[in-house]
């Protein structure tokens, strides 16, 4: 049969080719086994990742804020480790030998050729000793890492942020495949926001290694290596001296300070207290200290300046005035009568004074509650939401830090959700004076103050001013968003005049009047169901040429003019006097006013 012949022909081909493969295996696994065996023992090309130096951070004057220092981590490769040396190693690096054993057993079940990190930040003397005794200490090696150092006295922990080993979740969800297990990545604040700038690009070294993983030589004299590209440096808008001053002022209290240059949105200082020492997170993180920070009820890891939301209290009144003017409910000259209390729907709301019929300017100066109770009712929720949203209330300011809060600008849908059985217009009475369901963050208030001072120019607050290439020194500006809130100039004039009189007229913060720099602003005392009132102040200066806008929050610190206003004034004077004046007086006696 014809097919039988063809079958044997195909059999022949299958046999011939299979034995060709087996023949070749005999050749390389028998005859040349020794040669390849040696090769595998000795010179194998290995691709080693070279981590670039992370970008540095400087302040607006060029002062170094965040630096790197090299450090060495001790590693043990289990497959090559001679356990009889464990005692000597433990003495060298000052660890219990049980501790080393437990580190190694944590890595059990993984590749025994992967080096296990035993201790970070090893003394250089230890490294030299081990290096000299390589043959004795098999499987012991080092990894060079760079650790962050902070050369200044202040902390700025919520500005810089810290780095850490990449989490498994991030590793899985990354776009592309840049990050590998064990890589360091920005975890919080600017380190996180600008990770792509700061990290640089990894390089690769091709080296010849022996079976113990020891480097024998570099391949091709290093000509095939790909050099790492160091991270881009960040030049911050922060003024280091002002930051230090602001941190000193808040001291051990709980609160936040945000200062912005209203002309361009550059953040001059940003403080959230209590804070923490960033160097705790540099190098191996002590789990005890970390859990202490996590569990601290004062929440030091939390950035109050951008992540916390509070009722704004009377600092809301300039916003409310603009809502009234823009919606046409009042004019800059119309008056509302203020009798000392306000009764609506069978309930009475109190005020601290009776002023008679007053205009919006006087209402701001006196912080007249009745004026704003009535105004709240008149404007209605839709106008309230529409115009407040223009100043980014209820939405983020877009500051270049992660996890900013939206705050809460209550809408119709919101009330439908929380009061499914219906609600009364009475909620607008509380909203009129910045109480009720409304919540804002300090950075939202600072940016809004800046926008008022600039007659409606709203700049996205940002901490990074420029990027600098560490090799060429070339600088590139950081882009930020800018918008104009298009109200007639007379509205801003009226509101700013009111804020001017708060400090310079017969207003609630005349205690901070400064003859050299005309400060304008608004106090706030926000009621708080969980304790003493929060003390607020928002302000800007100089009146005719605003260069700084500030928001100060003191959690449970009482009246606005008692705590927040003098502190804001001190910040403003400090900045405008180029860090030469200090008006802060811890023990000043101040008559309480809102």
């Amino acid at each position: 049969m014809e097919l039988t012949g063809k079958k044997y022909f195909l059999y022949g081909i299958a046999f011939a080719l299979s034995f060709l493969l087996i023949g070749r295996l005999i050749q390389i696994q028998f005859m040349n086994q020794e040669e390849y065996g040696k090769e595998s023992q000795k010179n194998s090309v290995k691709k080693i990742t070279v981590t670039p130096a992370r970008g540095l951070m400087y302040d607006r004057t060029g002062k170094l804020l965040v630096d790197n220092k090299p450090s060495y981590s001790l590693t043990i490769t289990p497959a090559q480790f001679d356990t009889s040396t464990i005692l000597e190693i433990s003495q060298l690096v000052d660890m219990q030998s049980d501790e080393i054993k437990s580190r190694l057993s944590e890595a059990k079940g993984t590749n025994r050729f992967n080096p296990v990190k035993i201790k970070r930040d090893i003394d250089f003397k230890v490294i030299s000793y081990i290096e000299e005794n390589r043959d004795k200490f098999r499987g012991i090696d080092f990894q060079v890492e760079s650790l962050r150092t902070y050369p200044n006295k202040f902390k700025a922990s919520h500005i810089f942020g810290y780095n850490g080993e990449i989490t498994e979740k991030l590793l899985e969800n990354q776009v592309g495949s840049y990050y590998k297990q064990g890589d360091i990545i920005g975890a919080t604040a600017l380190e996180k926001s600008y990770e792509n700038y700061l990290r640089g690009e990894k390089g690769f070294k091709f080296i010849l290694v022996d079976v113990r993983g020891r480097e024998v030589a570099s391949l091709n004299n290093g000509n095939s290596d790909i050099k790492p590209i160091n991270g881009t440096d960040l030049i911050l808008s922060v003024d280091a001296e002002l930051q230090e001053y602001a941190e000193k002022l808040l001291g051990k209290r709980r609160g936040a300070i945000v200062a912005i240059d209203p002309r361009n949105g550059e953040v001059l200082c940003l403080v959230s207290k209590p804070d923490f020492d960033l160097s705790v997170f540099s190098g191996s993180v002590d789990s005890k200290i970390f859990s202490m920070l996590i569990n601290d009820e004062s929440k030091p890891l939390f950035n109050r300046a951008i992540q916390s939301k509070y009722p704004p209290g009377s600092t809301w009144k300039p916003m409310m005035s603009l809502v009234g003017l823009a919606s046409g409910v009042i004019t800059t000259h119309s008056t509302i009568s203020c009798e000392g209390s306000f009764t609506w729907g069978g309930r009475t709301w109190e005020d601290h004074g009776a002023y008679g019929p007053i205009s919006v300017v006087t209402a701001l100066e006196k912080s007249a509650n009745v004026f704003f109770y009535k105004l709240g009712l008149k404007v209605g929720l839709d106008n309230f939401d529409k115009y407040s949203k223009m100043f980014n209330f209820g939405i983020r300011t877009g500051i270049d830090l992660p996890n900013e809060t939206n705050g809460l600008l209550p809408s119709e849908e919101y009330y439908k959700r929380i009061f499914p059985k219906g609600w009364s217009q009475g909620i607008l009475i509380n909203l009129g004076i910045g109480q009720g369901e409304l919540l804002v963050s300090p950075v939202q208030l600072a940016a809004y103050t800046a926008a008022i001072s600039m007659n409606g120019l709203y700049n996205q607050p940002h901490l990074v001013k420029k990027f600098r290439n560490p090799i060429t020194g070339e600088e590139e500006k950081n882009n930020y968003a800018s918008k104009t809130i298009d109200f007639p100039q007379s509205y801003f004039d009226a509101v700013k005049k009111g804020m001017y009189l708060v400090v310079n007229g017969n207003g609630t913060a005349k205690n901070i009047k400064n003859s050299e720099y005309d400060i304008s602003g608004k106090t706030g005392t926000a009621q708080n169901p969980n304790g003493n009132n929060h003390s607020w102040f928002i302000g800007f200066a100089p009146f005719n040429d605003p260069q700084i806008a500030v928001c100060v929050l003191g959690e449970n610190a009482g009246w606005g003019n008692q705590f927040a206003a003098p502190m804001a004034a001190a910040i403003i004077v400090r900045y405008l006097s180029k860090n030469s004046q200090d008006t802060w007086n811890e023990n000043a006696k101040i008559e309480v006013k809102d």
Partner: protein, 407 residues
């Protein structure tokens, strides 16, 4: 098991398949366990699914398979067109569909579909349907060229080349004479020889001339074919010199990887060291320095044979090749014992594909074949490839079961 069951159930194929799958799973485990067991469990799950699929195919009546071939072929062609537009781009190739977390590679299934289509076409009872008829011959070549063109568009050269493996064996099985076979392949072999080893050019020309004479065909035909062989060998160098320099270097990199030691050559050098250093007994499972130190990237796919060569040594590596050889012989004996022309032809086609994969893949890791990225059947990690080979096994078992049924 009683002999009556064995008469219907191809236990040899099943045993060989399980043996090869087991070695593959061990190798995948060794190559990937340090990065977690996800890949291993996925491969294990699909191996079990593949065995079920294989058994299910065993029970399909051959007539249905033949009728179904055209639709299966059209379906895979549609998928190959679709993948060019909505496929996932991986490493510059657009050859994958992402389907619920799994990558599906239609080109793997197109191999099976094309073999079935070609066999169904050539086994048709119509009278003029003989491979000796030039029109039938051209139509048959066309059936293969359509998927090849689409796969080259992805571009996935490795898989496209696989399609060249089964054309001639199927033609031969369907009635092409040995003389015609030699007439077709001798110019290719002589051209290749002339290019790489010009000193053997005239020797090869002489040998083919003598072989053709032995067939005792008309002398002028043999002389005419020898002239064609001569001009093929003579013109190949000239054609190469007409190529652009970057095209020449690309060809050279495939043929001689050591010309590019950091690219494809890196893998070949490392895989030779890994396999060579394994020696007779191997370094032991999970003990291979080259494997565990990850000298070869992604060695659970195309370079999986290194893991076997290094950790299981010559014993393990040659045992695997013997298992493959036995499986191939079983395919061919199933083909020749079958009265069903269609299934017989398909089995020959499948055997050719498996042999081609085996020789190219293993040959590449031991430095005797160019680096063409195709998987080792049933061993390399990869869902589509695994399932398409399991379908081939199922069809071979079906051929055995129905060997006495004409159609």
């Amino acid at each position: 098991m009683s002999s009556r069951i064995l008469n219907r159930f191809d236990l040899i194929t099943v045993s060989l398949a399980i043996g090869i799958l087991a070695i593959g799973l061990i190798a995948v485990y060794s190559a990937t366990y340090s990065n977690g067991l996800d890949l291993f469990y996925k491969q294990l799950g699909f191996a079990i699914f593949g065995i079920i699929l294989m058994i299910a195919i065993l029970y399909i009546p051959p007539r249905y398979i033949s009728n179904f071939s055209l639709w299966f072929y059209i379906f895979t062609i549609v998928l190959l067109v679709l993948v060019l537009f909505i496929g996932k781009r991986i490493g510059g190739n657009r050859s994958w569909f992402s389907l619920g977390g799994f990558g599906v590679q239609p080109s793997e299934f197109a191999k099976v579909a094309t073999v079935l289509m070609l066999s169904s076409f050539l086994s048709s009872e119509e009278k003029e349907r003989s491979i000796k008829n030039p029109f039938t011959f051209l139509k048959a070549v066309g059936i293969v060229l359509i998927p090849v063109a689409l796969i080259m568009k992805q571009p996935d050269m490795g898989t496209a080349i696989v399609f060249s493996s089964f054309i001639l064996p199927i033609f031969l099985w369907s009635g092409l004479s040995f003389y015609a076979l030699i007439a077709i392949i001798s110019p290719i072999i002589i051209a290749a020889l002339a290019f790489f080893k010009p000193e053997y050019f005239y020797v090869a020309l002489g040998i083919t001339f003598i072989i053709m004479l032995l067939f005792r065909k008309k002398l002028y035909l043999t002389i005419f074919l020898t002239i064609i062989n001569f001009s093929a060998g003579y013109s190949v160098g000239f054609l190469y010199s007409k190529l652009q320099p970057h095209q020449q270097t690309r060809i050279m990199a495939v043929i001689n990887p050591s010309s590019d030691p950091l690219g494809t050559g890196y893998n070949v050098i490392q895989s030779k060291v890994a396999i060579g250093s394994g020696g007779f007994w191997g370094k032991g499972l999970l003990q291979g320095t080259q494997t565990q130190l990850k000298f070869i990237p992604e060695q659970w796919t195309d370079f999986i044979f290194c893991v076997i060569g290094e950790e299981l040594g010559f014993i393990g590596a040659s045992f695997l090749i013997i298992l493959f050889l036995a499986l191939l012989l079983r395919f061919l004996s199933n083909a020749s014992s079958s009265k069903n022309k269609f299934l017989g032809m398909a089995c020959v086609g499948f055997a050719s594909i498996i042999l081609f994969h085996l020789v190219i893949n293993v040959g590449m890791t031991i430095g005797i074949m160019p680096v063409i990225g195709i998987p080792l059947p049933l061993v390399s990690y990869g869902v589509s490839s695994l399932l398409s080979f399991m379908i081939m096994l199922g069809l071979s078992m079906n051929t055995y079961r129905n060997r006495n049924i004409l159609n």
